[in-house]
């Protein structure tokens, strides 16, 4: 089975839950409907039932942040009744939220705790080989260990694909630093048998950078819509870049409150994209 067939629903889509978990920028007029929707899924149990419903609707996988509520809803091990989690790491916003409440050290400790004691043992053993870079505050090494810890919570789900969070991908692109991607690649290899994917807000520049660096990825998630919103550096460059790619691309729909329209589907089909990461209000209206 191909990767796309393994993770996509019948029209090629992956389920997104960032909107439910408080992500995504919305305008003031959307605050009330967003709050009402988020309030419905505050409990892990409500979230679990919603995910089960979406699995029954055909979604095979869900782009999953390492949020405690979502992890609890997903359960410790994957079952056929739930969409397969595709981790999106690191969960920077979740870390910052916990850092506000518990301090940076406290937030780190909570991640270790969630990963379990055995994950810490594995991390410590790997950390021994990285003492030099850690002492020098080497960013890619720190990132690798941070991701390693976060992935521990997903390891029993056997994810086939793990995505690097867009700010980290784009930091690597902006800084022209492939070591950031390589650190991610190493952490995924240490924890899982998954292939690596990258989420980005800068698709055109990312594909150029990957070619220059000689790094191969299994998939990319990037903004894509009929109006060209978020397609950087511009629509034409993104379409050209997509046609030259030999890996599947999913359209990032975070921030779109409406379900995809036929013209969105058509644009995606013409560009040769695999599908979309659906993350809109309409998904949850019937749950």
């Amino acid at each position: 089975m191909t990767l796309v067939a393994q993770v996509s629903d019948p029209v090629g889509d992956i389920l997104g839950v960032q909107l439910l978990l408080g992500g995504g920028a919305v305008s003031a007029s959307q605050w009330e409907p967003l709050r009402r929707m988020q309030a419905r899924f505050q409990s892990p149990e409500a979230l679990r039932l919603a995910l089960e419903r979406k699995r029954a609707d055909g979604f095979r996988s869900v782009l999953a942040l390492g949020e405690p509520r979502l992890l609890e809803a997903l359960g410790r091990k994957h079952t056929d009744e739930m969409p397969l989690p595709l981790p999106l790491v690191p969960n920077l916003r979740g870390f910052m939220r916990e850092a506000v409440e518990y301090g940076m050290v406290g937030a780190g400790v909570r991640r270790v705790w969630r990963g379990g004691v055995m994950s810490l043992v594995g991390l410590s053993l790997r950390g021994l080989t990285q003492l030099g870079p850690l002492k020098k505050k080497d960013f890619p090494t720190y990132l690798r260990m941070f991701i390693d810890l976060e992935l521990a919570a997903f390891s029993r789900h056997d994810p086939p694909l793990v995505f690097l969070q867009p700010q980290m991908t784009d930091l690597a692109v902006a800084m022209n630093n492939p070591r950031i991607i390589e650190g991610f690649q190493a952490a995924v290899g240490d924890r899982t048998a998954a292939q690596i994917g990258l989420a980005t807000a800068n698709f055109g520049r990312l594909t150029s950078a990957l070619k220059t660096w000689g790094i191969e990825v299994a998939a990319v998630i990037a903004p894509w819509d009929e109006g060209g919103s978020g397609m950087r550096p511009n629509v034409d460059a993104c379409i050209r870049a997509a046609k030259a790619c030999d890996f599947p691309i999913w359209a990032d729909r975070l921030g779109h409150l409406e379900p995809p329209q036929p013209e969105d589907r058509e644009m995606i089909r013409q560009a040769g994209l695999a599908g979309m990461v659906r993350d809109d209000f309409a998904l949850w209206a019937d749950v």
């Binding site: 408080g22 992500g23 995504g24 920028a25 919305v26 305008s27 003031a28 007029s29 709050r35 988020q38 916003r93 910052m96 939220r97 506000v100 409440e101 870079p133 020098k136 505050k137 080497d138 960013f139 890619p140 090494t141 867009p166 700010q167 784009d170 930091l171 690597a172 692109v173 902006a174 800084m175 022209n176 630093n177 070591r179 950031i180 807000a201 800068n202 520049r205 903004p223 109006g227 060209g228 919103s229 978020g230 950087r232 550096p233 511009n234 975070l254 921030g255």
Partner: protein, 338 residues
């Protein structure tokens, strides 16, 4: 913010980091390991003398701005200074005086919302009369950052100059400045819910035209992980709602340019857009655009969009608001337009 600007230098046309300067050498190593290939200095003067940079970005806490700013200006090096200009009005005025002595030198200040075209478009709608006579407004900045007593310079009056108003609310004040210019009088209530500095404020701003508005700034609100800036303006012909992501105009009756009912402009579809964004969910376009604007002002000799005059207007307003908060009285704003 230093890392954000350093990363933008890799993607803004003509940008390159020539040197990193900080007191903490380990921080320098950390930033270099992110991919910034530039030498590290712990002395700004030495870096300027040896590197001869085309411009300096000052992205330190505000209490440290003045000496670095004055050093750059005295050496004739263009400066981009993060907001707010300073933690005290005295420091800000001294910086403005230093800049005034070299009027040809580009000086930009990091109020990124002024680079968001939605606020400028809202201003155009107001001055073109689409809204009729603007009567009043409500404006708020909210974020989820402070839920207990916090440590660090951000939470001390002596180093930050205040709490949520100067650290976060100054962006909203700049957005209001783009819309309406400088208010003439302010009345402010502030409260330190968790800290000695204010965690939340409520204010009334009065303008020479008779317009007035209510401002709320609060960094202890759950559910606002991304800082929001929302302004609602009520006029005799309709209403404007404007924020980071969208501008909406509601008209009772159609005008020459817009239909009756709602008309909406989305940030993601309004030029200028950035060719690169590191944080699309929070002002990513604006971070790119403000750095591009500064580089162009240095290379082409054009005036930065947010210069010392605009930053001083906000600083005078902040000073008046803190005086109003402390005295409990309505206070005249320095530098107000008559």
């Amino acid at each position: 913010m230093g890392i954000m600007h350093a990363s933008m230098m890799g993607v803004v046309p003509g940008g390159r980091v020539a040197a990193l300067v900080d007191l903490d050498e380990k921080l320098g190593l950390n930033v270099q390991s992110m991919g910034v290939e530039a030498p590290f200095y712990n002395d700004l003067e030495k870096a300027i003398d040896e590197i001869r940079p085309e411009g300096v970005w000052i992205a330190t806490p505000q209490f440290a701005h003045r000496p670095m700013f004055e050093l750059c200006v005295s050496k004739g090096v263009p400066v981009f200074c993060e907001k707010p200009l300073a933690h005290t009005i005295d420091d800000a005025r001294a910086m403005a005086a230093a800049a005034a002595a070299k009027p040809e030198l580009p000086v930009a200040v990091g109020y990124m919302l002024a680079h968001n075209p939605l606020f400028r478009h809202a201003h155009d709608l107001i001055v073109s009369g689409e809204l009729g006579l603007p009567c009043s407004f409500k404006a708020s900045t909210r974020l989820s950052q402070v839920f207990s007593a916090m440590k660090g310079w951000t939470f001390t009056k002596e180093q930050a100059g205040g709490g949520v108003l100067i650290n976060s609310g100054c962006h909203l004040l700049m957005a209001l400045h783009v819309l309406f210019g400088q208010p003439s009088r302010v009345t402010v209530k502030g409260r330190g819910v968790h800290n000695k500095v204010e965690d939340t404020i409520g204010a009334i701003l009065e303008y020479p035209s008779g317009l007035w508005g209510m401002v709320e700034v609060n960094w202890s609100v759950p559910g606002h992980e991304l800082q929001t800036h929302d302004i609602e303006v009520v006029g005799t012909s309709g209403t404007i709602e404007v924020g980071n992501e969208a501008l909406r105009l509601w008209l009772h009756e159609k005008s020459r340019r817009n239909p009756a009912g709602w008309t909406q402009w989305l940030r993601s579809r309004t030029e200028p857009l950035a060719e690169f964004s590191l944080s699309p969910e929070y002002c990513g376009d604006e971070f790119f655009l403000e750095d591009k604007d500064f580089i162009e002002s240095v290379r082409r000799g054009k005036k930065p969009r947010v210069g010392i005059a605009e930053a001083m207007a906000i600083q005078e307003l902040l000073d008046a608001m803190y005086r109003a908060m402390e005295s409990g009285a309505t206070v005249e704003v320095g530098g107000a337009q008559s």
